[in-house]
């Protein structure tokens, strides 16, 4: 019989994550090279914006990741609360800094894209504001997780906070639909896109690259977290480091 929970133990998952992470980083690098090639060498100059539109190959994938990572983090939080597991909570903690990083990159690149195109570095547009709120949600998650002596209490509290904050994601997603403001509406959907095909492919390749990178980074981080939390265990002390 398959033991579906074999890797649910920090000890076994540590090794699994150890050999998985480099592959994800490698995939991220390859996809990034491909995406940037398509984005800069294949995709044509935009009729209205010139070359500066190429920020899209960072900005949109980073925004997608910022929301996706929060969603996954909240899922891990839900799993950790429902099943009272440690590893799911550690994965949630591992995802948070990467998510915050992508949120920051999305806001920064958006700001530097807005200056030449809209004339301003910042505007209190619905989507931009809710993305900023998302950044604070990430900070709140990290702060709350580390605010207690007992790390398990931090795990549970931050997991619950992540679940409460999930309501912000639909607000970000639908904000361009609900408010008629400066930020462009969605041009990419499951039904098709009005975007030039090379631009679309550049964006998708970069998005996949960021995704692979996120997995690699969080697997690496969770390994460090496992070592921190499990340092008193027998298996941790038996580890051989080169």
């Amino acid at each position: 019989m398959i033991n579906w929970f074999y890797f649910a133990s920090p000890a076994t998952f540590y090794r699994l994550a150890g050999w998985m992470a480099p592959w994800f980083f490698a995939a991220a690098a390859i996809l990034a090279v491909a995406g940037l090639y398509v984005g800069f060498a294949v995709a044509p100059t935009d009729a209205q914006q010139g070359e500066v539109y190429r920020v899209i190959f960072i900005h949109v994938p980073a925004s997608w990741m910022s929301m996706f990572i929060y969603f996954v983090m909240a899922c891990y939080g839900g799993v950790s609360l429902t099943f009272n597991t440690r590893l799911a909570a550690m994965m949630a903690r591992a995802l948070a800094p990467t998510g915050a990083m992508f949120t920051f990159v999305a806001l920064w690149t958006g700001s530097f894209w807005g200056r030449p195109t809209w004339g301003t570095y910042w505007v209190w547009d619905a989507r931009i504001t809710s993305e900023l709120v998302l950044l604070f949600l990430y900070f709140g998650f990290i702060a709350l997780a580390n605010a207690f002596e007992d790390p398990r209490r931090g795990d549970r509290a931050s997991a619950l906070l992540a679940l409460i904050g999930v309501v912000n994601l639909p607000i970000i997603y639908f904000s361009v639909l609900w408010w008629n403001t400066l930020h462009q509406g969605s041009t990419v959907s499951f039904k098709g896109t009005s975007m030039h095909v090379a631009m679309l492919w550049g964006m998708l390749l970069m998005a996949l690259s960021f995704w692979m990178y996120s997995v690699g980074a969080s697997l690496t981080r969770v390994r460090a977290i496992i070592l921190e939390r499990e340092r008193r265990t027998h298996w941790a002390r038996e580890l051989q480091f080169t």
Binding site: L81, A126, T129, S130, V133, F136, L137, F139, G140, A143, L144, A147, F148, R153, R156, A157, L160, L161, L163, I164, G165, V167, N168, I171
Partner: protein, 238 residues
Amino acid sequence: MSATAIAAASVPATGSFATGFAWALRRDLTLAWRHPGETILVVAFFVLVASLFPLGIGAEPQLLARIGPGVIWVCALLAAFLSLPSLLAGDYADGSLEQMTLSPHPMSGWICGKVAAHWVASGLPLTMLAPLIGLQYGLSPDTLLALCAALAIGTPVLSLLGAACTALTLGARGGGMLLALLALPLFVPILVFGAGAAEAQATGLSPSPHLSILGAGLILAAVGLPPAICTAIRIALD
């Protein structure tokens, strides 16, 4: 005998949501009535901060009327935020919270009662005082009505969200700042729609879309947050 002991003596073996709600509501309202300092502080803070803006920005009537809804909402939000610790901290510190979790009444019942009492002691005075502040800012009667309606719907949501954040940070390091980092981002949608309702009315549009969304938010919060608050308190007490 303390309020808890008196109430505990009259508790039946099987509990109900309504009984727990009524008990907690009566208890916390009694406590708030006996110690009105908290409510007075909330109201005083609201009035003070709302008075700071014209002093700082200049008392030009058109400008004040333009920023009025937003400023009043921000002041109400901050005042509501400041009143949050009193919701659970006192009970947590002297152990009554732990005693209350042993109640046969469902936890969500008396939690809702506490939050309702907190709203009556903080959100309701803010809502009732807002028209006076609005007059200071020179808002029209229609705008004042929309503002009050938005506050009436929005402040309970603030109380619920605030209660969840307070429960999460019970006994945490970082105290007030941590609570601010958690609560204020969650308050933002309420602020946006609440101030938006009043501003819509001020510019001649209908405030009902904003008020509808606020109402939906209230229903969602009233249904979804009490279980979360209960979980958070259980996490805190373990």
